[in-house]
Amino acid sequence: MATETPPPSKTPDRLPPTEEFVAVQESAEFVELRGSYRGFAFPLTVAFIAWYLLYVLLSNYAGGFMGTKLFGNINVALALGLAQFLSTFLIAWWYARHAAAKFDPRAEAIKSRMEDGA
């Protein structure tokens, strides 16, 4: 197994030894980075998929409600569909901001330390 390295490269792999990755994986700094990433990305993923499925189910089984006219010919179904667009844009923007502020500095600190040490 140890010989099955990832794809061969023309530049020699400057990857640190596996033991170092194990040590980093167990370090408090990395555990914190992983925790903050998963704590943000996982619940948010569950939330937007639930919100999307709610919309799909309402379209299927709540025809009367979805057909309610809001103004002119704009009904609830159309407004909720547009709300899906809006929430997608907002979540993307929020994630990008959050990642730049919370994940990138920590990730870069670990990366530069590992690559300098190699």
Binding site: P7, R34, L53, N60, G63, N75, A77, A100
Partner: protein, 540 residues
Amino acid sequence: MSPAITLAAGGAASEHRTLIVTLFAVFVAATLVITVWAGRQTKDAADFYAGGRQFTGFQNGLAVSGDYMSAASFLGIAGAIALFGYDGFLYSIGFLVAWLVALLLVAEPLRNSGRYTMGDVLAYRMRQRPVRTAAGASTIVVSIFYLLAQMAGAGVLVSLLLGITSDGGKIGIVALVGLLMIVYVTIGGMKGTTWVQMVKAVLLIAGAVLLTFLVLLKFHFNVSDLLGSAASNSGKGSSFLEPGLKYGATGTTKLDFISLGIALVLGTAGLPHILIRFYTVPTAKAARKSVIWAIGLIGAFYLMTLALGFGAAALIKPDEIIASNKAGNTAAPLLALHLGGVDSNWGAILLATISAVAFATILAVVAGLTLASSSSFAHDIYANVIKKGTASEKQEIGAARWATVGIGAVSIVLGALARDLNVAGLVALAFAVAASANLPTLLYSLFWKRFTTSGALWSIYGGLVTAVGLVLFSPVVSGKPTSMFPDVDFHWFPLENPGIISIPVGFLLGIVGTYLSKEEPDAGKYAELEVRSLTGTGAH
């Protein structure tokens, strides 16, 4: 063929046909120049597979949009909305929301830990040969489903525009598309393909902006009026603006709607031709930026398809749309003709422009798909399975070029079979296969410590066989007038989209396979993958 085609093409008499062909030839010539230029700069494997990894986040965002906004988006969604009103809108929403899965869970870890293909990440901590074989197989199957949709779109466009209705003529055009894509990919590699995607994305967005503007102008920028006219012209009244016209008939069709919805939202992050785009940028941050750009561009584009679909419904008689193409695939080009004025020069010019754009779209997406499958064949199967890592870069790229020719040939043959299916529906099948076979293994590999080689194999093959098997025995293939083979009936699976069954099966089999084998996960490799995927250590 139906009289409506002659009617539509009647506006496009021979001189307009010349215009269409000229516009298209200009696009082909321009992209060939780009391809040759890119080909001269393609020296090593990183150039061929990943465009040298020197594209910026914005450039790649544009290219991702180009790869993603296929004929399915432009022709299929507009057609589905034009025929079924609100129910066609689900495609736009699912196709867009799906990007959040890619953004939050997949794009950055993939860029950090992979090199050229999806298989790089799937096989990272597993036994290389079996997992790479599986990854290669599912990459090629997903891409071929997707190719089928694009080829169907090409055939449809050609019969509308050039009045070519003979089977020989259509096959000739499909073969031309296949030939061009082989040239793009073998010569230009990823660098050439990426530039072609960018050019195409700009053209497609410009075309959509133009049509949207003209539609809104016609209704004095009153969206409510547009919707009202669409509802009344469709002959279906206000139900045209409500869910249920296509999927609301019975309990089965409602299940189909849910199945489609799940496949759309989970498919994107498992599409190999999209995933390999993230290798064209230097860092994970740039990969994130490309997804953000892509979400903005694709979202804006899908909002416009809403105007195109309802615009077509409002301005064209439903009979005319159906007569031109049963599945509505020609609604957008017909809309262009009607906006300019049937039998007027302006109408013919608009029709020619939009058709050339649609053709460019198909050509570019087909090139992207072919690149994804030939890369996976060369890098995953040829270099790592057959040659066990001893192939030189030159041999590997050579294998990729030959694979391109083979895949081109296969897609030409299959494309002829699929011409009367709605291209958006066909693409949704590719999404279902991707979500069933690729996404579970991708997520488990990245985030589940206990996951093993046998879990990966169960999940990839199980998801793949379930999804493809259910499609084979669905009404898409046989048993209905709209099926691929309408004259025979061997269908027993009632839904058109298999996602609701095959996606949970793919996820479950990953767990079952992992716990059933006695194999221990490789903890050291997982440490490598996890640290690399989150920090970018050692990323190339």
